[in-house]
Amino acid sequence: MLGLGKRDTSLVIIVTLMALLAPFILNPFPTESAMAQFNAGYPDLLQRFVIFGIFAIGFNLLFGLTGYLSFGHAAFLGIGSYAVVWMYKLLDYNIVPGLVLAIIVSGLFAVLIGYISLRRSGIYFSILTLAFAQMMFAISYSDLIGRFFDTSITNGETGLQVYTSDPQILLNDWESVPHLLGLVEMRSTYILDAGAWSFSFNAGYYFCAIIMILAFYLSVRIFRSPFGLMLRAMKSNQQRMTYTGLNTKPYALAAFVISGMYAGLAGGLLASMDPLAGAERMQWTASGEVVLMTILGGAGTLIGPVLGAGFIKYFENIFSKINDTVLHQWFSFMPDGLEDAMVFIVHPFIGKGWHLTLGILFMLVVIFLPGGLVEGGQRIARLFARRKDTAPKETQSTPAE
């Protein structure tokens, strides 16, 4: 179906269902229950799931397929956000022109940065992309280009936002927040109360989710295309590729640009949900985060980056919310001394300590599970399959699940 094999089709269907039903699936606990803090079915978080999902899917097209590790992809995320906010400032709150511009501009930057960075490979490439991203961060943070022309492009530390003094030449009276072609406002949310549960269906989320599904579908097509095969070949053995008469540079550049455009789109969507753009979106920590999402989910697999993005964003949210009071509640079944000890042990890893947990997680995944969650899942599945079947079949590793 849709030019995909059977397994890929079912994968796309699963992702589609997951994305469309997420407000239900991720909201399993009644609103008043103690477990409600583990719910993730509210618009803000759901939006982040799918937007960072897009970011990670795009990153995976570069890193997962070609093996080129970019440490500066956050630059494109920032560019996308700036592009969208600029369109708000110049035209109006319709998100479509901004998103189109976000993809185009990030693509152009990706051509430039990719062309230079891809002159080297391996760690040189990683460091070059990192340097570029840091440079872009510095430029945005100090509004360097703006100052050069005696105007403001990124609005420096404050971040770019819409002011009433902006031209907004297409603005209608009814517009005050981002909307899609005047049809629906991104923030509009329908709340369904069903018994003890309360589900939120947010227009912005569904818009992002549909884009993510399309982005995912496109990435499956790329994975299964001759172009995708060439990228995987490049990751496997550049030397053989060169001596097979193939020019690796344009292949790598094309992958870099496509993944840069994905990142730009994700950045644009961030600004579509919340009409702001700041330089911190470009910082190396943000670049590191998308690397982590991809690795954690499983680099080079289809579904991995989506899982990784969801996993990280979910736990970031939950972990940052937990404080000592919550911990005391959790461990309240224990004797007092033990309860305090447990809280003391867990304390560094929660709340503001989320980054510590993230760092440890990062190391554990790279050390013990280089294939990420997908590989972990496969290992478990294999374990069960072996138990069921006493004569273990030769497990055939498919490169992408």
């Binding site: 299964r224 995987r232 070949a233 053995n237 008469g245």
Partner: protein
């Protein structure tokens, strides 16, 4: 005029003269072996031929066109394929995928962005690749990871991938180095079969005299970066200069 013409090629690395005034003509549809003791400059010469190294002086032309200054992939597209000392294949891909890549490269050239059409739609390419694998006796392994194959089979696959491009000149760099006798003989048979079935020129760098004398029609002996003699295998065998150059090396 041969298909490959090397004229007065010199290459120095710092103080070391790696190639000194090398002249070599490889005739079309012949099997030409280049032998010589370690450090004779065989690998340097090969790297010059495929564009990995640029000589200091001299010219190299393939089918009347200069190859100097061209990138390795361009030289390959001209019709020169190279087999490496240790088999260079796409270890992460399946055997079938390995075989499809050179066929794509032949059809689509050095770069073409088929990003949305599916591989499974490329029936023609798959058929060709399957056919090649059958000829190589590798069809049963087509869905295996190529990295998991034996060294001998990796070598077969690599040679097959080179042939899939239908090159006019096949360069082999010690194709049987580190192989067991049985694998070596298999490789010799494969190369003989290729030579019989196709219009192809083969240039082979080899240490193993058994391989050289089983295949070569013409032999150039390289010593200290310069060609010592060039002659037919029969004459090379008893040549005093060759014995001298190989003194202390594996007896010819």
């Amino acid at each position: 005029m041969g298909i490959l013409e090397v004229r007065n090629v010199n290459k120095r690395f710092g103080g070391l003269q790696a190639l000194g005034d090398v002249n070599l003509t490889v005739e079309e549809n012949s099997v030409h072996a280049i032998i010589g003791p370690n450090g004779a400059g065989k690998s340097t010469l090969l790297n010059v031929l495929v564009g990995k190294l640029i000589p200091d002086t001299g010219s190299v032309s393939f089918d009347g066109q200069s190859v100097l200054g061209r990138k390795p992939f361009e030289i390959n597209q001209m019709g020169i394929s190279r087999v490496f000392q240790t088999p260079e294949i796409f270890g992460d891909l399946t055997v079938l995928e390995n075989m499809m890549i050179p066929i794509f490269a032949k059809r689509d050239g050095a770069f073409r962005m088929h990003a949305v059409n599916s591989i499974s739609g490329e029936q023609e390419i798959i058929d060709q690749a399957e056919h090649m694998l059958e000829n190589l006796n590798l069809a049963d392994a087509r869905h295996d990871h190529s990295a998991s194959m034996s060294r001998g089979n990796k070598r077969r696959l690599e040679i097959g991938m080179c042939l899939a491009q239908e090159p006019r000149l096949l360069l082999l760099d010690e194709p049987t180095a580190g192989m067991a006798r049985a694998d070596t003989n298999n490789t010799i048979d494969l190369l003989k079969q290729i030579k019989d079935e196709r219009d192809i020129t083969i240039a082979i760098i080899e240490h193993d005299m058994h391989v050289v004398f089983s295949l070569a029609e013409r032999i150039t002996v390289l010593a200290q970066g310069s060609p010592l003699v060039e002659d037919s295998p029969e004459n090379i065998k008893g040549h005093p200069k060759v014995r001298e150059a190989y003194l202390g090396e594996t007896a010819a």
